[in-house]
């Protein structure tokens, strides 16, 4: 296939995966809906027969309706797993569409489809070892929304990499950033659920189906405990090594670096909070959500709002408004001669 064909194929793959995620989401919603009706019946039965139907019966599904919801849940998971495979093929095709072939995370669109892939993959893999299938509705909703956003707002053609990005570190640095972003995103979903669940006394609906806050907290912790070392590796080891090679300084206080550091500090605070009396539970979960907010702000906000970041994707705007040298380089070294380096921003 030619590069153009690969590119079209990749788009089709992403669309197919998005449709599958959407169907999986519908299956999960159907599962929830059937659970809700069954829980209502249960409550009605419980009210009729004193002593029956305690608050948690929604989890133990009554035999009559459980089959339908069970099938729907299974279907949701199978569809998600299938979508992950199609998603993977689309990613590979994206890499093959570039000339020369490269890893498919050269711009925001590519980073987003790679990041959502990791979120879905971690979820599917987790279901093999953990009882976490109830997270399906949230994961599929998130992935569908993120893929739509990538398609509508971030789409960018397959472009050759500028010199500064052309390095083996692109693979190592970005893949670890993508993986930890996926893990942190799942962790944030779980922490958010933890906060909602610990305030809710719902006996029906999604929250009733979700496990106890204690379990949610532990699962969230495990996602973060997995994500944090990978993030450390991405931000504080491979990032500086690459920055040193490409820009001549291992740490430049570039806005992207600053926010990656902020994210790191917030998650470090989260891990400490879980070991500190008075901070466990609610406060720690809030910290985890703050961490995820800084993470996504760094990914989206900095690229759109900061023109000074060397990681900026805001191409088009930058070269016209600023005086530019052709190579990516730290700005401070050129300021003496009145030149701002803004071209060829690394786009990862």
């Amino acid at each position: 296939m030619t590069d153009a064909q690969w590119e079209v194929f990749s788009y089709q793959g992403v669309i197919a995966a998005a449709v599958l995620y959407f169907l999986a989401m519908l299956a999960y919603f159907f599962e929830l809906a059937t659970l809700r009706t069954s829980a209502k019946e249960e409550v009605a039965v419980g009210a009729a027969a004193p002593g029956g139907g305690s608050g948690t019966t929604a989890v133990e599904q009554p035999a009559g309706t459980s089959r339908r919801s069970e099938v729907a849940g299974r279907l949701g998971l199978v569809l998600t797993a299938f979508a992950v495979m199609v998603h993977f093929v689309a990613l590979v095709a994206r890499g093959l569409a570039a000339d020369p072939n490269r890893v498919p995370w050269g711009n925001m669109y590519e980073f987003t489809i790679a990041g959502t892939f990791v979120v879905a993959l971690i979820f599917v893999l987790s279901t093999l070892r953990l009882d976490i299938e109830w997270l399906g509705p949230l994961v599929t909703t998130f992935v569908v929304a993120a893929l739509m956003a990538a398609f509508l707002g971030l789409d960018d053609a397959v472009l050759p990499l500028p010199d500064a990005l052309n390095s083996p570190w692109l693979v190592i640095h970005v893949v670890s950033a993508v993986i930890s972003t996926g893990a942190f995103t799942l962790g944030a979903l779980l922490s958010g659920l933890y906060l909602a669940k610990s305030r809710s006394s719902a006996t029906t609906g999604y929250l009733a189906r979700v496990p106890e806050p204690k379990v949610l907290d532990r699962l969230a912790y495990r996602m973060h405990a997995f994500g944090f070392p990978v993030w450390t590796f991405a931000v504080l080891i491979t990032g500086p090594i690459w920055a040193h090679q490409a820009w001549g300084a291992y740490w430049n206080w570039d806005p992207k670096e600053v926010w990656a550091f902020i994210t790191w500090v917030v998650y470090a605070a989260y891990l400490h909070a879980r070991a500190t009396a008075g901070w466990r539970g609610r406060n720690a979960a809030v910290l985890a959500l703050v961490g995820a907010a800084t993470l996504w702000f760094n990914f989206i906000g900095i690229n759109f709002f900061s023109s000074s970041s060397q990681h900026s994707y805001a191409e088009g705007a930058a070269p016209e408004t600023s005086v530019v040298l052709g190579l990516a380089g730290p700005v401070e070294t050129t300021q003496e001669v009145g030149v701002v380096v803004g071209a060829d921003h690394p786009r990862a």
Partner: protein, 552 residues
Amino acid sequence: MTDLQPDLRQRPSDDRQATALPNDLTARELGRWAWRQLTSMRTALVLLLLLALASIPGSVIPQENIDSLAVSQWRDNHPRLAPTWDRLDLFNVYGSVWFSAIYILLMISLVGCIIPRLFVYARALRARPPKAPRHLSRLPESTSYTTDEDPDAVLARAARVVRGRRFRVHYVAGESDAVAAERGHLREAGNLVFHLAVIVVLVGVAAGSLFGYKGGVILLNGDDYGFSNNLTQYDDFAPGALFDPDVMEPFSFSITDFDVDWLTEGKRAGMAREFVASLDYRTEPGGATKSYDLKVNHPLSIGGTDVFLIGHGYAPVITIRDGEGEVTKSGPVVFLPTNAQTFESFGVVKAPFARPEQIGLEGALYPTFAMGRDADGNLTMPASVWGDALDPLISMSLWTGDLGLQDGSASSVYVLDKAGATQVTKPNGQPFRMDLRPGESATLPDGLGSVTFEGLQRWNKIQISRTPGKLVALTGVVLALLGLLGSLFVRPRRMWVRARRQDDGTTLVEVARLDRSSGGDPEDGAAELAEVVAALQDPTGGSSTITKEDES
């Protein structure tokens, strides 16, 4: 639950908590109290969050040491706010007093927290596994069964089984009715390594910013133009506070050739790639000349100094003859690109010794010249349509009078001082302008002389930096990561097995397990407990009952 459990569950990090201010204050008491506050986990947490918060302004407000041009623009746009921002150090957040205060307090807090824990850890390493609690069945993970075996035989086997699971075991036959075991000390070791490594990183980074330097130079291509590594040769130079010029390695280099590949098709047409500057360098005066292909992502390291290729541009070779026919200026003049794509560049040529009048030129270089057109097809401004020098043209205006170079004050070679100079005009009052292609000359009006555009030279912007301690910092981060892995994934836990003869002659065996990590999976704990019990029962098999208590 008895009060036993919080005690057992207590992890070293909980040892240090903020306490209430004592009522009877002596200076000593106050100091102790303040130290306890500072080194408490809660304070460390607040400091961590403050550090995150304090980092934000630096990503929003332009920073002096990152983009001083943006800072001066910002100052111009906000004349009333700028002084306040200055007082708050907001243009230099990461070097400011308040930012330093936060991380220094954080480091003190960290040291104050870690050092006592080092001693605790050293003691814990030598200590025996803690004795079995009196009521094993009250622990959240516990089980029991009865058997006809002799208690001592059960315990001896239990010690063997648990030791086989890589626990440290304490059991002396006859001394006690229980086996105590513990494993997972590496978690706390990892924790300590992580926190100590943070200090190592800080030391490495500090060394780099105190003793290092970073400088830049624009170097014309060709053997005639060389750079040798001493202070006078830099265009810009940013030394650390404790920088000593004696550490500068005495290397020198020149750029023999520069290659660049312009993409001619596709959506990125016009983008330049695969920059290669061929370097001839010597590591010391009189040393052998070596060659190196300097590229982006491929710096040259000489000793502890790194040389980076970070920019390129054009330098028109211009000859100026003055009114008396003397060559008063000849050679390449560095023009700075004003556009990244087209490499339209701006430059200034000064001939202060021209007679009868000083000559100053100011204007643009268009590497591939074309007249711009507006929507109606009318010619507008001249422009460059390509970064490569396919059809170069310089378009210069002429100034004469006092160019401000006589009084000896510093002036930029990239700016024409027009305070004492006047622009030369044509008879019709329009500014005089010359448009020259390579090889062309223009005769200047008023008998000032002539200007010849001989051709184009290239220049490269080279950055040179020396960052001592970067390997220390890297080692620190790698150590921190290893420590982190240990502190997150090693699961410290204790196990106890107690066997007691009951009144009915059978032996009651109680097995309990205590997970001391956060985030441990109860399923894993239950599985380990079940495996140990199974191994204990294995030789006897059969007649015993297992009661497993609910996990609470």
